[in-house]
Amino acid sequence: MSPGISDDNRKRLGRINRNFFLHIHANKVHPHSLKTGYTFGLGVILGFLFMVMILTGVVLMMNYTPSVERAYNSVKDIVFVVPGGRYIRNIHRWAAHGMVLVSFLHLIRVFFTGGYLAGRRLNWIIGVCILVVVLFMNFSGYLLPWDQLAFWAVTIGSNIAASFRELTDILGITQVLDIGGFIKKLLIGDETVGQAALSRFFMLHVIFLPVTLMVLTAVHLWRIRKDGGVSRPMEKTGGQGDNTRGEDKFFSWPVVMWAELAILLLTVAVLLVMAFLFDAPLRERANPDFAENPAKSPWYFLGIQELISYSAFAGGVIIPVLFLVFLISIPYMDREDRNMGTWFSGTAGRRLTWQSLGFSMLITLLFVFILVRYGWFRSWFPDIPQVIIMLFNPATLSALFYIIWAVWVRRRTGSSRMSAIALFTCTMTGFIIYTAIGIWFRGPNWEFYWSSSQWPVF
Protein backbone atom coordinates (compact mmCIF):
# COMPACT_ATOMS: atom_id res chain seq x y z
CA MET A 1 0.00 0.00 0.00
CA SER A 2 1.21 3.46 -0.85
CA PRO A 3 2.66 5.58 1.93
CA GLY A 4 0.17 7.83 3.65
CA ILE A 5 -2.84 5.84 2.47
CA SER A 6 -4.64 4.02 5.23
CA ASP A 7 -5.37 0.33 4.88
CA ASP A 8 -8.55 0.80 6.85
CA ASN A 9 -11.38 0.56 4.34
CA ARG A 10 -13.70 2.67 6.44
CA LYS A 11 -11.20 5.51 6.49
CA ARG A 12 -10.79 5.24 2.73
CA LEU A 13 -14.52 5.52 2.22
CA GLY A 14 -14.57 8.50 4.54
CA ARG A 15 -11.92 10.29 2.54
CA ILE A 16 -14.29 10.45 -0.41
CA ASN A 17 -17.56 10.59 1.43
CA ARG A 18 -16.83 13.33 3.89
CA ASN A 19 -15.12 15.68 1.48
CA PHE A 20 -17.50 17.96 -0.38
CA PHE A 21 -15.24 18.27 -3.42
CA LEU A 22 -14.39 14.58 -3.67
CA HIS A 23 -17.84 13.18 -3.09
CA ILE A 24 -18.78 13.50 -6.76
CA HIS A 25 -16.82 10.26 -6.95
CA ALA A 26 -18.41 7.00 -5.97
CA ASN A 27 -16.85 5.26 -2.97
CA LYS A 28 -15.80 2.40 -5.15
CA VAL A 29 -15.49 2.10 -8.89
CA HIS A 30 -15.73 -0.76 -11.31
CA PRO A 31 -12.36 -1.86 -12.77
CA HIS A 32 -13.79 -1.43 -16.29
CA SER A 33 -14.29 2.31 -15.72
CA LEU A 34 -10.57 2.77 -15.18
CA LYS A 35 -9.42 1.10 -18.39
CA THR A 36 -7.35 3.65 -20.25
CA GLY A 37 -8.25 2.24 -23.64
CA TYR A 38 -11.95 2.54 -22.86
CA THR A 39 -12.40 6.15 -21.77
CA PHE A 40 -8.97 7.64 -22.56
CA GLY A 41 -9.81 9.90 -19.62
CA LEU A 42 -11.38 12.38 -22.02
CA GLY A 43 -14.14 13.56 -19.67
CA VAL A 44 -11.66 14.11 -16.85
CA ILE A 45 -9.33 15.99 -19.23
CA LEU A 46 -12.26 18.27 -20.11
CA GLY A 47 -12.91 18.94 -16.44
CA PHE A 48 -9.28 19.88 -15.82
CA LEU A 49 -9.15 22.03 -18.97
CA PHE A 50 -12.21 23.89 -17.73
CA MET A 51 -10.49 24.53 -14.40
CA VAL A 52 -7.42 25.84 -16.22
CA MET A 53 -9.69 28.07 -18.33
CA ILE A 54 -11.27 29.58 -15.22
CA LEU A 55 -7.96 30.17 -13.44
CA THR A 56 -6.21 31.74 -16.45
CA GLY A 57 -9.40 33.56 -17.45
CA VAL A 58 -9.67 35.29 -14.07
CA VAL A 59 -6.04 36.40 -14.35
CA LEU A 60 -6.58 37.71 -17.88
CA MET A 61 -9.73 39.59 -16.86
CA MET A 62 -7.76 41.73 -14.43
CA ASN A 63 -5.93 43.40 -17.28
CA TYR A 64 -8.53 43.26 -20.03
CA THR A 65 -10.93 46.12 -20.87
CA PRO A 66 -14.01 45.23 -22.93
CA SER A 67 -14.27 48.45 -24.90
CA VAL A 68 -13.69 48.98 -28.61
CA GLU A 69 -11.09 51.67 -27.88
CA ARG A 70 -9.19 49.80 -25.20
CA ALA A 71 -9.67 46.09 -25.90
CA TYR A 72 -6.91 45.62 -28.47
CA ASN A 73 -4.39 47.67 -26.53
CA SER A 74 -5.21 45.92 -23.27
CA VAL A 75 -4.57 42.54 -24.90
CA LYS A 76 -1.34 43.95 -26.27
CA ASP A 77 -0.46 45.05 -22.75
CA ILE A 78 -1.17 41.54 -21.52
CA VAL A 79 1.13 40.12 -24.18
CA PHE A 80 3.98 42.62 -24.05
CA VAL A 81 3.90 44.35 -20.65
CA VAL A 82 2.27 42.20 -17.98
CA PRO A 83 4.88 39.77 -16.56
CA GLY A 84 3.99 36.28 -17.76
CA GLY A 85 0.91 37.66 -19.49
CA ARG A 86 1.76 36.20 -22.86
CA TYR A 87 2.26 32.77 -21.32
CA ILE A 88 -1.05 32.91 -19.41
CA ARG A 89 -2.87 34.01 -22.57
CA ASN A 90 -1.26 31.21 -24.56
CA ILE A 91 -2.35 28.65 -21.96
CA HIS A 92 -5.89 30.06 -22.05
CA ARG A 93 -5.92 29.86 -25.82
CA TRP A 94 -4.63 26.29 -26.08
CA ALA A 95 -6.85 25.08 -23.27
CA ALA A 96 -9.83 26.59 -25.12
CA HIS A 97 -8.95 24.87 -28.37
CA GLY A 98 -8.23 21.72 -26.40
CA MET A 99 -11.72 21.85 -24.94
CA VAL A 100 -13.30 21.92 -28.39
CA LEU A 101 -11.09 19.10 -29.63
CA VAL A 102 -11.51 16.91 -26.56
CA SER A 103 -15.27 17.55 -26.49
CA PHE A 104 -15.54 16.12 -29.99
CA LEU A 105 -13.26 13.20 -29.10
CA HIS A 106 -15.35 12.53 -25.99
CA LEU A 107 -18.52 12.58 -28.09
CA ILE A 108 -16.94 10.10 -30.50
CA ARG A 109 -15.71 7.88 -27.64
CA VAL A 110 -19.10 7.80 -25.93
CA PHE A 111 -20.88 7.09 -29.19
CA PHE A 112 -18.67 4.21 -30.30
CA THR A 113 -18.77 2.57 -26.87
CA GLY A 114 -22.56 2.87 -26.78
CA GLY A 115 -22.54 5.16 -23.75
CA TYR A 116 -25.98 6.56 -24.61
CA LEU A 117 -27.73 3.20 -24.17
CA ALA A 118 -29.56 1.66 -21.24
CA GLY A 119 -31.18 4.70 -19.64
CA ARG A 120 -28.26 7.05 -20.29
CA ARG A 121 -30.29 8.99 -22.86
CA LEU A 122 -30.66 12.15 -20.78
CA ASN A 123 -26.95 12.32 -20.06
CA TRP A 124 -26.11 11.97 -23.75
CA ILE A 125 -28.36 14.93 -24.50
CA ILE A 126 -26.79 16.98 -21.70
CA GLY A 127 -23.43 16.10 -23.23
CA VAL A 128 -24.55 17.44 -26.62
CA CYS A 129 -25.69 20.66 -24.89
CA ILE A 130 -22.27 20.93 -23.23
CA LEU A 131 -20.62 20.62 -26.65
CA VAL A 132 -22.73 23.49 -27.97
CA VAL A 133 -21.93 25.64 -24.92
CA VAL A 134 -18.21 24.91 -25.32
CA LEU A 135 -18.37 25.99 -28.96
CA PHE A 136 -20.15 29.22 -28.09
CA MET A 137 -17.75 29.91 -25.25
CA ASN A 138 -14.86 29.60 -27.69
CA PHE A 139 -16.63 31.72 -30.26
CA SER A 140 -17.45 34.51 -27.78
CA GLY A 141 -13.85 34.53 -26.56
CA TYR A 142 -12.65 34.86 -30.12
CA LEU A 143 -13.94 38.44 -30.43
CA LEU A 144 -12.41 39.84 -27.26
CA PRO A 145 -8.86 40.65 -28.55
CA TRP A 146 -10.53 42.93 -31.14
CA ASP A 147 -7.93 42.28 -33.83
CA GLN A 148 -8.59 41.69 -37.53
CA LEU A 149 -8.89 37.93 -37.03
CA ALA A 150 -11.44 38.36 -34.23
CA PHE A 151 -13.47 41.05 -35.95
CA TRP A 152 -13.92 39.27 -39.27
CA ALA A 153 -14.42 35.83 -37.76
CA VAL A 154 -17.29 37.21 -35.69
CA THR A 155 -18.67 39.26 -38.59
CA ILE A 156 -18.91 36.06 -40.61
CA GLY A 157 -20.21 34.10 -37.61
CA SER A 158 -22.97 36.65 -36.97
CA ASN A 159 -23.94 36.57 -40.62
CA ILE A 160 -24.18 32.79 -40.47
CA ALA A 161 -26.79 33.46 -37.79
CA ALA A 162 -28.57 35.72 -40.28
CA SER A 163 -28.57 33.08 -43.01
CA PHE A 164 -32.28 32.50 -42.37
CA ARG A 165 -32.61 35.45 -44.75
CA GLU A 166 -31.86 33.21 -47.71
CA LEU A 167 -35.07 31.33 -46.96
CA THR A 168 -37.17 34.42 -46.25
CA ASP A 169 -35.80 36.00 -49.43
CA ILE A 170 -36.97 33.03 -51.47
CA LEU A 171 -40.38 33.31 -49.85
CA GLY A 172 -40.22 37.08 -50.39
CA ILE A 173 -41.09 37.96 -46.79
CA THR A 174 -37.78 39.38 -45.53
CA GLN A 175 -39.24 42.89 -45.39
CA VAL A 176 -42.06 41.71 -43.15
CA LEU A 177 -40.53 38.89 -41.12
CA ASP A 178 -36.75 39.08 -40.96
CA ILE A 179 -35.94 36.16 -38.65
CA GLY A 180 -32.28 36.00 -39.66
CA GLY A 181 -31.78 39.70 -39.05
CA PHE A 182 -33.45 39.42 -35.65
CA ILE A 183 -31.21 36.55 -34.53
CA LYS A 184 -28.17 38.45 -35.72
CA LYS A 185 -29.22 41.62 -33.89
CA LEU A 186 -29.91 39.62 -30.76
CA LEU A 187 -26.40 38.17 -30.96
CA ILE A 188 -24.34 41.28 -31.75
CA GLY A 189 -26.73 43.99 -30.56
CA ASP A 190 -26.48 46.15 -33.68
CA GLU A 191 -26.38 45.96 -37.47
CA THR A 192 -22.62 45.46 -37.53
CA VAL A 193 -20.03 44.18 -35.06
CA GLY A 194 -19.17 47.02 -32.70
CA GLN A 195 -19.21 47.99 -29.03
CA ALA A 196 -22.61 46.35 -28.48
CA ALA A 197 -21.26 43.05 -29.80
CA LEU A 198 -18.14 43.32 -27.66
CA SER A 199 -20.18 44.02 -24.50
CA ARG A 200 -22.51 41.12 -25.22
CA PHE A 201 -19.76 38.67 -26.03
CA PHE A 202 -17.81 39.71 -22.94
CA MET A 203 -20.86 39.09 -20.77
CA LEU A 204 -21.49 35.72 -22.45
CA HIS A 205 -17.86 34.72 -22.22
CA VAL A 206 -17.11 35.55 -18.61
CA ILE A 207 -20.44 35.01 -16.84
CA PHE A 208 -23.32 33.44 -18.67
CA LEU A 209 -21.67 30.61 -20.57
CA PRO A 210 -19.20 29.54 -17.82
CA VAL A 211 -22.01 29.40 -15.27
CA THR A 212 -24.19 27.47 -17.71
CA LEU A 213 -21.32 25.11 -18.34
CA MET A 214 -20.78 24.57 -14.61
CA VAL A 215 -24.42 23.74 -14.04
CA LEU A 216 -24.55 21.40 -17.04
CA THR A 217 -21.32 19.72 -15.94
CA ALA A 218 -22.67 19.20 -12.44
CA VAL A 219 -25.81 17.56 -13.84
CA HIS A 220 -23.68 15.54 -16.28
CA LEU A 221 -21.52 14.14 -13.47
CA TRP A 222 -24.51 13.55 -11.20
CA ARG A 223 -26.25 11.59 -13.96
CA ILE A 224 -23.17 9.38 -14.40
CA ARG A 225 -23.42 8.47 -10.71
CA LYS A 226 -27.17 7.86 -10.95
CA ASP A 227 -26.68 5.70 -14.06
CA GLY A 228 -24.25 3.49 -12.17
CA GLY A 229 -20.88 4.89 -13.18
CA VAL A 230 -19.11 4.98 -16.51
CA SER A 231 -20.82 2.74 -19.07
CA ARG A 232 -19.62 -0.86 -19.27
CA PRO A 233 -20.82 -4.10 -20.81
CA MET A 234 -23.86 -5.71 -19.26
CA GLU A 235 -23.39 -9.15 -17.76
CA LYS A 236 -25.43 -11.97 -19.16
CA THR A 237 -26.84 -12.73 -15.74
CA GLY A 238 -27.70 -9.35 -14.37
CA GLY A 239 -29.43 -6.24 -15.55
CA GLN A 240 -27.88 -2.79 -15.51
CA GLY A 241 -24.29 -3.86 -15.07
CA ASP A 242 -24.20 -3.98 -11.28
CA ASN A 243 -22.78 -7.45 -11.56
CA THR A 244 -19.50 -6.86 -9.86
CA ARG A 245 -19.98 -7.21 -6.17
CA GLY A 246 -18.58 -4.64 -3.80
CA GLU A 247 -15.40 -6.54 -3.00
CA ASP A 248 -14.37 -6.75 -6.68
CA LYS A 249 -14.44 -2.98 -7.11
CA PHE A 250 -11.61 -0.55 -6.47
CA PHE A 251 -11.69 1.98 -3.71
CA SER A 252 -11.84 5.47 -5.19
CA TRP A 253 -9.35 6.50 -2.50
CA PRO A 254 -6.64 6.17 -3.65
CA VAL A 255 -7.03 4.35 -7.00
CA VAL A 256 -9.15 6.92 -8.84
CA MET A 257 -7.22 9.77 -7.25
CA TRP A 258 -3.93 8.45 -8.67
CA ALA A 259 -5.52 8.09 -12.10
CA GLU A 260 -6.93 11.60 -12.03
CA LEU A 261 -3.68 13.05 -10.74
CA ALA A 262 -1.88 11.43 -13.66
CA ILE A 263 -4.36 12.92 -16.14
CA LEU A 264 -4.08 16.34 -14.49
CA LEU A 265 -0.29 16.28 -14.74
CA LEU A 266 -0.38 15.13 -18.33
CA THR A 267 -2.97 17.74 -19.36
CA VAL A 268 -1.14 20.60 -17.70
CA ALA A 269 2.19 19.41 -19.08
CA VAL A 270 0.86 19.39 -22.63
CA LEU A 271 -0.66 22.85 -22.14
CA LEU A 272 2.54 24.30 -20.73
CA VAL A 273 4.61 22.93 -23.59
CA MET A 274 2.10 24.10 -26.22
CA ALA A 275 1.90 27.56 -24.65
CA PHE A 276 5.69 27.75 -24.58
CA LEU A 277 6.14 26.72 -28.21
CA PHE A 278 3.20 28.41 -29.94
CA ASP A 279 1.98 31.96 -29.34
CA ALA A 280 -1.71 32.77 -29.51
CA PRO A 281 -2.17 34.95 -32.60
CA LEU A 282 -2.72 38.69 -32.32
CA ARG A 283 -2.94 40.54 -35.60
CA GLU A 284 -3.36 44.21 -36.32
CA ARG A 285 -6.18 46.12 -34.69
CA ALA A 286 -9.68 45.43 -36.03
CA ASN A 287 -10.46 47.49 -39.10
CA PRO A 288 -14.11 47.35 -40.16
CA ASP A 289 -13.23 48.84 -43.55
CA PHE A 290 -10.86 46.21 -44.83
CA ALA A 291 -11.72 42.56 -44.67
CA GLU A 292 -9.01 39.98 -44.33
CA ASN A 293 -8.58 37.85 -47.40
CA PRO A 294 -9.33 35.05 -46.84
CA ALA A 295 -11.51 35.90 -43.85
CA LYS A 296 -11.85 32.70 -41.89
CA SER A 297 -13.94 31.95 -38.82
CA PRO A 298 -12.41 29.92 -35.94
CA TRP A 299 -11.16 26.52 -37.12
CA TYR A 300 -14.02 24.54 -35.56
CA PHE A 301 -16.49 26.59 -37.64
CA LEU A 302 -14.55 26.29 -40.90
CA GLY A 303 -16.48 23.16 -41.84
CA ILE A 304 -19.66 25.22 -41.59
CA GLN A 305 -18.02 28.13 -43.42
CA GLU A 306 -17.16 25.75 -46.26
CA LEU A 307 -20.82 24.68 -46.35
CA ILE A 308 -22.14 28.25 -46.35
CA SER A 309 -19.98 28.99 -49.37
CA TYR A 310 -22.36 26.62 -51.17
CA SER A 311 -25.57 28.01 -49.66
CA ALA A 312 -25.95 30.20 -46.59
CA PHE A 313 -29.22 28.71 -45.36
CA ALA A 314 -28.35 25.09 -46.14
CA GLY A 315 -24.87 25.35 -44.66
CA GLY A 316 -25.58 27.75 -41.82
CA VAL A 317 -28.95 26.47 -40.61
CA ILE A 318 -30.25 23.27 -42.23
CA ILE A 319 -27.13 21.08 -41.96
CA PRO A 320 -26.06 22.13 -38.42
CA VAL A 321 -29.63 21.81 -37.12
CA LEU A 322 -30.03 18.40 -38.79
CA PHE A 323 -26.72 17.34 -37.26
CA LEU A 324 -27.78 18.39 -33.75
CA VAL A 325 -31.19 16.78 -34.19
CA PHE A 326 -29.45 13.60 -35.32
CA LEU A 327 -27.12 13.61 -32.29
CA ILE A 328 -30.01 14.14 -29.88
CA SER A 329 -32.18 11.53 -31.55
CA ILE A 330 -29.52 8.78 -31.56
CA PRO A 331 -30.59 7.33 -28.19
CA TYR A 332 -34.23 7.40 -29.27
CA MET A 333 -33.63 5.60 -32.56
CA ASP A 334 -31.22 3.03 -31.17
CA ARG A 335 -32.25 1.16 -28.03
CA GLU A 336 -30.24 -2.01 -28.36
CA ASP A 337 -28.98 -1.82 -24.81
CA ARG A 338 -26.96 -5.02 -25.02
CA ASN A 339 -24.45 -3.17 -27.22
CA MET A 340 -23.31 -0.92 -24.41
CA GLY A 341 -19.74 -0.86 -23.17
CA THR A 342 -17.64 -2.37 -25.97
CA TRP A 343 -15.88 -0.38 -28.64
CA PHE A 344 -17.89 -0.48 -31.90
CA SER A 345 -20.14 -3.12 -30.26
CA GLY A 346 -17.87 -5.87 -31.55
CA THR A 347 -16.05 -6.82 -34.73
CA ALA A 348 -19.03 -6.34 -37.06
CA GLY A 349 -19.39 -2.76 -35.86
CA ARG A 350 -15.68 -2.16 -36.21
CA ARG A 351 -15.75 -3.37 -39.80
CA LEU A 352 -18.83 -1.27 -40.53
CA THR A 353 -17.12 1.81 -39.08
CA TRP A 354 -14.23 1.41 -41.51
CA GLN A 355 -16.63 0.80 -44.40
CA SER A 356 -18.67 3.90 -43.51
CA LEU A 357 -15.48 5.92 -43.20
CA GLY A 358 -14.44 4.88 -46.69
CA PHE A 359 -17.92 5.42 -48.12
CA SER A 360 -18.22 8.89 -46.60
CA MET A 361 -14.76 9.93 -47.78
CA LEU A 362 -15.59 8.74 -51.28
CA ILE A 363 -18.95 10.53 -51.46
CA THR A 364 -17.87 13.75 -49.77
CA LEU A 365 -14.65 14.10 -51.74
CA LEU A 366 -16.46 13.26 -54.98
CA PHE A 367 -18.88 16.17 -54.59
CA VAL A 368 -16.12 18.51 -53.44
CA PHE A 369 -14.06 17.41 -56.45
CA ILE A 370 -16.93 18.18 -58.83
CA LEU A 371 -17.47 21.57 -57.18
CA VAL A 372 -13.81 22.56 -57.27
CA ARG A 373 -13.05 21.15 -60.73
CA TYR A 374 -16.23 21.86 -62.67
CA GLY A 375 -18.15 24.39 -60.58
CA TRP A 376 -21.73 23.95 -59.48
CA PHE A 377 -25.19 24.63 -60.89
CA ARG A 378 -24.77 28.39 -61.08
CA SER A 379 -21.68 28.09 -63.28
CA TRP A 380 -23.59 25.74 -65.61
CA PHE A 381 -26.99 27.45 -65.58
CA PRO A 382 -26.51 31.11 -64.58
CA ASP A 383 -30.25 31.76 -64.22
CA ILE A 384 -30.98 28.88 -61.87
CA PRO A 385 -33.17 29.86 -58.89
CA GLN A 386 -31.38 29.94 -55.55
CA VAL A 387 -33.84 27.49 -54.00
CA ILE A 388 -32.43 24.71 -56.22
CA ILE A 389 -28.89 25.38 -55.03
CA MET A 390 -30.14 25.62 -51.46
CA LEU A 391 -31.64 22.14 -51.75
CA PHE A 392 -29.03 20.52 -53.98
CA ASN A 393 -25.44 21.36 -53.11
CA PRO A 394 -22.47 19.16 -52.15
CA ALA A 395 -23.42 19.28 -48.48
CA THR A 396 -27.08 18.33 -48.80
CA LEU A 397 -26.34 15.69 -51.45
CA SER A 398 -23.61 14.14 -49.27
CA ALA A 399 -26.02 14.13 -46.32
CA LEU A 400 -28.62 12.42 -48.50
CA PHE A 401 -26.15 9.69 -49.44
CA TYR A 402 -25.16 9.23 -45.78
CA ILE A 403 -28.81 8.67 -44.91
CA ILE A 404 -29.31 6.24 -47.82
CA TRP A 405 -26.25 4.33 -46.64
CA ALA A 406 -27.56 4.19 -43.07
CA VAL A 407 -30.97 2.99 -44.21
CA TRP A 408 -29.33 0.33 -46.38
CA VAL A 409 -27.21 -0.83 -43.42
CA ARG A 410 -30.37 -0.98 -41.33
CA ARG A 411 -32.09 -3.22 -43.86
CA ARG A 412 -29.03 -5.41 -44.32
CA THR A 413 -28.25 -5.96 -40.65
CA GLY A 414 -31.61 -5.29 -39.06
CA SER A 415 -29.80 -3.50 -36.26
CA SER A 416 -30.47 0.09 -35.22
CA ARG A 417 -27.06 0.24 -33.53
CA MET A 418 -25.29 -0.65 -36.79
CA SER A 419 -27.38 1.92 -38.64
CA ALA A 420 -26.49 4.56 -36.03
CA ILE A 421 -22.80 3.66 -36.34
CA ALA A 422 -23.03 4.02 -40.13
CA LEU A 423 -24.69 7.44 -40.03
CA PHE A 424 -22.54 8.77 -37.18
CA THR A 425 -19.31 7.69 -38.88
CA CYS A 426 -20.41 9.21 -42.19
CA THR A 427 -21.42 12.58 -40.71
CA MET A 428 -18.32 12.83 -38.53
CA THR A 429 -16.06 11.96 -41.47
CA GLY A 430 -17.83 14.50 -43.66
CA PHE A 431 -17.56 17.14 -40.93
CA ILE A 432 -13.83 16.50 -40.57
CA ILE A 433 -13.28 16.61 -44.34
CA TYR A 434 -15.13 19.92 -44.75
CA THR A 435 -13.27 21.37 -41.76
CA ALA A 436 -9.93 20.26 -43.20
CA ILE A 437 -10.79 21.83 -46.56
CA GLY A 438 -11.78 25.07 -44.85
CA ILE A 439 -8.58 25.15 -42.79
CA TRP A 440 -5.95 24.14 -45.34
CA PHE A 441 -7.31 24.25 -48.86
CA ARG A 442 -9.17 27.54 -49.07
CA GLY A 443 -7.27 30.69 -49.90
CA PRO A 444 -8.07 34.23 -51.00
CA ASN A 445 -11.61 34.67 -52.34
CA TRP A 446 -12.34 31.26 -50.83
CA GLU A 447 -10.80 29.60 -53.84
CA PHE A 448 -9.26 26.17 -53.75
CA TYR A 449 -5.48 25.95 -53.30
CA TRP A 450 -3.40 22.88 -52.61
CA SER A 451 -1.15 24.86 -50.33
CA SER A 452 -1.04 28.35 -48.90
CA SER A 453 2.30 28.81 -50.66
CA GLN A 454 0.32 29.03 -53.93
CA TRP A 455 -1.80 31.93 -52.72
CA PRO A 456 -1.51 34.90 -55.04
CA VAL A 457 0.33 37.94 -53.74
CA PHE A 458 -1.62 41.17 -53.76
Binding site: T155, A162, D190, D289, P294, W446, E447
Partner: protein
Protein backbone atom coordinates in the same frame (compact mmCIF):
# COMPACT_ATOMS: atom_id res chain seq x y z
CA UNK B 1 -52.69 17.67 1.20
CA UNK B 2 -55.99 16.46 -0.22
CA UNK B 3 -59.43 16.97 1.02
CA UNK B 4 -61.61 13.90 1.50
CA UNK B 5 -63.02 12.87 -1.86
CA UNK B 6 -66.64 13.41 -0.85
CA UNK B 7 -65.95 17.08 -0.28
CA UNK B 8 -66.69 19.04 -3.45
CA UNK B 9 -65.67 22.53 -2.31
CA UNK B 10 -62.07 23.65 -2.03
CA UNK B 11 -60.85 24.47 1.39
CA UNK B 12 -59.47 27.95 1.90
CA UNK B 13 -55.98 26.54 2.47
CA UNK B 14 -56.15 24.55 -0.75
CA UNK B 15 -57.24 27.60 -2.67
CA UNK B 16 -54.46 29.74 -1.23
CA UNK B 17 -51.88 27.10 -2.11
CA UNK B 18 -52.98 26.88 -5.69
CA UNK B 19 -53.31 30.61 -5.92
CA UNK B 20 -49.78 31.19 -4.69
CA UNK B 21 -48.30 28.60 -7.08
CA UNK B 22 -49.99 30.24 -10.06
CA UNK B 23 -49.13 33.71 -8.78
CA UNK B 24 -45.48 32.69 -8.58
CA UNK B 25 -45.55 31.20 -12.10
CA UNK B 26 -47.34 34.24 -13.52
CA UNK B 27 -45.00 36.69 -11.84
CA UNK B 28 -42.04 34.67 -13.08
CA UNK B 29 -43.27 34.68 -16.67
CA UNK B 30 -44.01 38.41 -16.65
CA UNK B 31 -40.66 39.21 -15.06
CA UNK B 32 -38.87 37.01 -17.61
CA UNK B 33 -40.58 38.74 -20.52
CA UNK B 34 -39.67 42.19 -19.26
CA UNK B 35 -36.08 41.08 -18.58
CA UNK B 36 -35.66 39.28 -21.90
CA UNK B 37 -36.92 42.39 -23.70
CA UNK B 38 -33.71 44.03 -22.53
CA UNK B 39 -31.77 41.74 -24.86
CA UNK B 40 -33.42 43.21 -27.96
CA UNK B 41 -31.18 46.11 -28.96
CA UNK B 42 -32.82 49.56 -29.06
CA UNK B 43 -29.74 51.70 -29.48
CA UNK B 44 -27.81 51.51 -32.69
CA UNK B 45 -24.79 53.05 -34.39
CA UNK B 46 -26.53 52.46 -37.71
CA UNK B 47 -27.42 55.57 -39.70
CA UNK B 48 -30.02 55.27 -42.40
CA UNK B 49 -29.62 58.67 -44.01
CA UNK B 50 -26.41 60.64 -44.22
CA UNK B 51 -24.54 63.16 -46.34
CA UNK B 52 -21.56 62.18 -48.45
CA UNK B 53 -20.40 65.58 -49.70
CA UNK B 54 -20.75 67.48 -52.98
CA UNK B 55 -20.82 65.97 -56.44
CA UNK B 56 -17.57 67.66 -57.39
CA UNK B 57 -15.71 65.63 -54.77
CA UNK B 58 -16.19 62.51 -56.84
CA UNK B 59 -13.98 61.85 -59.86
CA UNK B 60 -15.80 61.23 -63.12
CA UNK B 61 -16.32 57.75 -64.61
CA UNK B 62 -14.96 55.90 -61.58
CA UNK B 63 -16.22 54.08 -58.55
CA UNK B 64 -15.08 55.91 -55.42
CA UNK B 65 -14.95 53.81 -52.28
CA UNK B 66 -16.25 55.45 -49.10
CA UNK B 67 -14.75 53.35 -46.32
CA UNK B 68 -16.70 54.86 -43.43
CA UNK B 69 -20.06 54.32 -45.14
CA UNK B 70 -19.20 51.09 -46.97
CA UNK B 71 -20.41 52.48 -50.27
CA UNK B 72 -19.13 52.71 -53.81
CA UNK B 73 -20.16 56.00 -55.41
CA UNK B 74 -20.14 56.13 -59.20
CA UNK B 75 -20.19 59.41 -61.06
CA UNK B 76 -20.26 60.16 -64.76
CA UNK B 77 -21.02 63.33 -66.70
CA UNK B 78 -24.76 62.85 -66.39
CA UNK B 79 -25.22 61.91 -62.79
CA UNK B 80 -24.22 60.07 -59.64
CA UNK B 81 -25.29 56.80 -58.02
CA UNK B 82 -24.28 54.69 -55.02
CA UNK B 83 -24.05 50.94 -54.50
CA UNK B 84 -23.51 48.98 -51.30
CA UNK B 85 -19.98 47.70 -50.65
CA UNK B 86 -21.24 44.96 -48.33
CA UNK B 87 -21.36 41.48 -49.81
CA UNK B 88 -24.89 40.13 -49.83
CA UNK B 89 -23.58 36.73 -48.83
CA UNK B 90 -22.10 37.16 -45.36
CA UNK B 91 -21.39 40.83 -44.98
CA UNK B 92 -17.72 41.18 -45.87
CA UNK B 93 -16.56 44.38 -47.52
CA UNK B 94 -16.16 43.84 -51.25
CA UNK B 95 -13.34 45.23 -53.38
CA UNK B 96 -13.34 46.75 -56.84
CA UNK B 97 -12.09 44.34 -59.47
CA UNK B 98 -11.65 44.50 -63.22
CA UNK B 99 -15.03 43.10 -64.13
CA UNK B 100 -16.91 44.67 -61.21
CA UNK B 101 -16.66 43.79 -57.55
CA UNK B 102 -15.23 40.83 -55.72
CA UNK B 103 -15.71 39.62 -52.15
CA UNK B 104 -12.59 38.37 -50.36
CA UNK B 105 -14.42 36.10 -47.95
CA UNK B 106 -16.19 33.56 -50.14
CA UNK B 107 -15.25 34.68 -53.61
CA UNK B 108 -18.53 36.15 -54.82
CA UNK B 109 -18.18 38.27 -57.94
CA UNK B 110 -20.49 41.06 -59.07
CA UNK B 111 -20.50 43.10 -62.26
CA UNK B 112 -20.55 46.87 -62.47
CA UNK B 113 -24.34 46.81 -62.16
CA UNK B 114 -23.99 44.93 -58.87
CA UNK B 115 -25.40 41.73 -60.31
CA UNK B 116 -24.08 38.40 -59.09
CA UNK B 117 -21.68 36.80 -61.58
CA UNK B 118 -20.42 33.86 -59.56
CA UNK B 119 -19.79 32.60 -56.06
CA UNK B 120 -21.82 32.11 -52.94
CA UNK B 121 -23.80 35.36 -52.99
CA UNK B 122 -27.34 35.01 -54.26
CA UNK B 123 -28.60 38.57 -54.13
CA UNK B 124 -27.47 41.50 -56.24
CA UNK B 125 -25.85 44.45 -54.54
CA UNK B 126 -28.45 47.09 -53.62
CA UNK B 127 -28.33 50.62 -55.12
CA UNK B 128 -29.46 53.41 -52.87
CA UNK B 129 -31.58 56.46 -53.57
CA UNK B 130 -29.63 59.72 -53.71
CA UNK B 131 -30.99 63.21 -53.20
CA UNK B 132 -29.48 66.64 -53.17
CA UNK B 133 -29.85 68.64 -50.00
CA UNK B 134 -30.32 72.41 -50.00
CA UNK B 135 -26.68 72.88 -49.10
CA UNK B 136 -25.69 71.04 -52.28
CA UNK B 137 -24.55 67.89 -50.53
CA UNK B 138 -25.61 64.43 -51.67
CA UNK B 139 -27.81 62.53 -49.22
CA UNK B 140 -27.84 58.72 -49.27
CA UNK B 141 -30.89 56.87 -47.98
CA UNK B 142 -30.02 53.25 -47.20
CA UNK B 143 -33.69 52.53 -46.61
CA UNK B 144 -34.71 53.28 -50.20
CA UNK B 145 -33.48 51.02 -52.97
CA UNK B 146 -33.42 51.97 -56.64
CA UNK B 147 -32.67 50.04 -59.85
CA UNK B 148 -29.01 50.11 -61.02
CA UNK B 149 -29.63 52.40 -63.97
CA UNK B 150 -31.27 55.14 -61.89
CA UNK B 151 -29.03 58.02 -60.97
CA UNK B 152 -29.27 61.47 -59.54
CA UNK B 153 -28.97 63.68 -62.62
CA UNK B 154 -26.87 66.73 -62.29
Amino acid sequence: MHEPSNSTHQSRRDFLRRFSVWAAIGAGVLASISLLRQFIPRLTQYQRRFKIGRVNNFPVNTFTYMADRKLFVYRDHQGIKAVSAICTHLGCVIKKSDEGFQCPCHGSCFNDRGEVLSGAATKDLPWFELKKDVDGQIVVDLGRLVPPEEKLYL
